[in-house]
Symmetry: C2
Subunit: 147 residues, 2 copies
């Protein structure tokens, strides 16, 4: 098998930083009212047991997420590590190709196939693949910024 010339995440861009918090209203009060960020969107994703808010951060966004289901992965993360950074999301043009290339490199994946997220197809890499950082890949299906 030949090695592709453009590999894995070389064209990826940081899309947002994910921060897990106990209470979304409380965190929004801090991030918006105190720190001065602007709320872009707020979602409840019951299938994943989380509430989510996206804040404007220039070309990127901050995602605050808070578990609504004690059995969700997000709830277990929060119980284990406390509030703080949860994942880093990179936008890629073709998520299926990116996963194929990463799999060929032996990268440990959480999601073997892309699944539908709020802003497009998403897949998570295992934190062991990136020195403790949970990387999310996103193939956007529409822009979520008002421009």
């Amino acid at each position: 098998m030949s090695i592709p010339e453009t590999v894995q995440l070389s064209n990826a861009q940081v899309d947002h930083v994910g921060i897990v918090v106990h209470d979304l209203d409380d965190a929004l009060a801090t991030y918006c009212d105190v720190l001065g960020f602007s709320l872009l969107e707020r979602h409840h994703a019951p299938d994943h047991g989380v509430e989510i808010a996206f804040l404007d951060a220039g070309r990127s966004t901050i995602e605050l997420l808070s578990p609504t289901d004690k059995e969700s992965g997000t709830a277990r993360f929060l119980a284990r590590r406390g509030e703080g950074s949860h994942h880093v999301c990179f936008a890629v043009p073709n998520i299926a190709q990116a996963l194929d290339e990463l799999r060929a490199q032996g990268v440990r994946l959480i999601d073997e196939t892309p699944r539908q997220g709020i802003h497009g197809l998403v897949a998570f890499l295992h934190p062991q693949a990136a020195h403790g950082v949970m990387i999310e890949l996103l193939q956007k299906d529409q822009p979520h910024r008002l421009e």
Copy 2:
């Protein structure tokens, strides 16, 4: 005291994501050789007891940092929390003004005054100010991207 119309971080942009690792060469092998990111710069900052690498991430960068001094704050963070996300950096046009506005909001700061970093003046907010995330502010003194 009147409240300023443009406040705090409302014009901030995510500049980079900081990820603390045990061994920089080992992490660069993962991030560049396996995941496919490109190395932009590598620095040794003995005053802060860390080695640092910046990787291209489109409009943003990933910063990998690894302690070289066991007494440094970075080393204590790594011992306490393990490898993973360390801070999120936002570029702001005027760091002194941003710190004044944040201080007026009662935000807990690590750095009361800006200090010289690799790419400009920097100051850290205390993680308690942002739900467990250590936010870095950066007033860039020159672009660090080849464009």
